[in-house]
Subunit: 283 residues, 2 copies
Amino acid sequence: MVEEELDRFLPEEGPGPEILRKAMRYTLFAGGKRLRPILAIMGYEVAGGENVRQEILPQAAALELIHTFTLIHDDLPAMDDDDMRRGKPSNHKVFGEGIAVLAGDTLLVEAFRLFIQGLLPHDVKLRMLNELIDAIGVDGVMGGQALDLLYEGKGPSPEIVDYIHSRKTGGFIRASLTIGGMAAQNERLIPVYREIGDLIGLAFQITDDVLDVVGDEKVLGKPVKHDSERGKSTYPALYGVEESRKKARELVDRAIEIAHYQIGPELAWPIIELAKFIVERSY
Amino acid sequence: MVEEELDRFLPEEGPGPEILRKAMRYTLFAGGKRLRPILAIMGYEVAGGENVRQEILPQAAALELIHTFTLIHDDLPAMDDDDMRRGKPSNHKVFGEGIAVLAGDTLLVEAFRLFIQGLLPHDVKLRMLNELIDAIGVDGVMGGQALDLLYEGKGPSPEIVDYIHSRKTGGFIRASLTIGGMAAQNERLIPVYREIGDLIGLAFQITDDVLDVVGDEKVLGKPVKHDSERGKSTYPALYGVEESRKKARELVDRAIEIAHYQIGPELAWPIIELAKFIVERSY
């Protein structure tokens, strides 16, 4: 459903310059896990939502547009300088840096258009929009990326690693789940989702950093040991691979426990399965 | 009021990395004309709005955040490669390219936060938000910048110049005025504003291109003949300076005529004065 929604919203042919559309679609359809949209839809359904297509699908797909924007800008030479992404040359390698900057910018702008589509009440849409902006703004993904850039090569410190992890990935993953709960207008579950989202968000980032050290290039679609060899502020750099893996498993166990007791296994099983996938995945 | 609102919304000290805040404020407070916020407030007041602070100031200031985002990204080496902006070294010259990319991104995200503040009804806010996104998205400012980049050095053609002008500047200026009318919930004036906004938006861009050829560097705060010598698609490159000036004056005369007959001189005088400024300005 997410793939279809993204293709419907951003078809090959439509208004605006063809090259820009092509560049946006190139990274958008390069085979992502769609973790954020899935979390939003899951959060919505577990919280009792019954009209996925009109009440959460536009918002869920918009999260992927935003995630793709961050990937394209993150790969730029002035940022992480990554040549490969999702097993293919990164955006600026194919379209040039100028168009890559604009493709990222445009994905971000258009994400807001999609985010306010659908049949939810206006006040619910605006509440979800504020949650999203908190997660990606100056003290969210953007803030995390700025510190990530600033501290590259300076050796990791626990405080900086914590800030970067909680902002660059954790907060956005938490918001994805929480936005689902907001769409379902389930006030009881929203704080529960925030707690679970925090835990699996951090576990996700730790696992990403571990895979950067020990993962399989072919499965990951990008070179391994790329971040770790550049003195990036990561968990394994700070605590080692084994300790990091243990930490990620503990976080997920705690998330599953909360899902179990606060939501109940008969409803929460999709969240529990996803939490397990987050630490067990190889890509 | 706009300066105060921008400073309130994005103070020197606040959440997120200090460097990011500093980079955002650097270009934001480098002395812009605040044309887009002024147009929005003017459109609101002329249309009968009476609570500027709560019903249009946040949206007006948000337009300036977005405009500043486009300037920072536009100046990047991969884009227009401009070293000076508003009389000071451009953002990436001071903070480096990575932070400049992120400062632009963050201004865009935070603009949406500000844009939905204030006391307007939710449906009015969402309507204004859609108008804004139309103006800056894939077939708006972003689309205009992509074609501007793509056709640099290829010699101007009338169709390309028209597309770039109407999208890169014209549509955003039209939207600024129109958003003011929407905030005042004046249905009669919204289509009138669109028409006036189109005319003064195009006149503004033509005047910008003329100033690039014949302007005073000290007054402009950036080198002259910068665009024209790189084979940018501009009006003077296509029709010459005198013909371009004549065209800009004609457009503004037409806008003033519409303001006169559709709104009336006793109400429309601020719009009329601003339209005159747009072609008579030296910066």
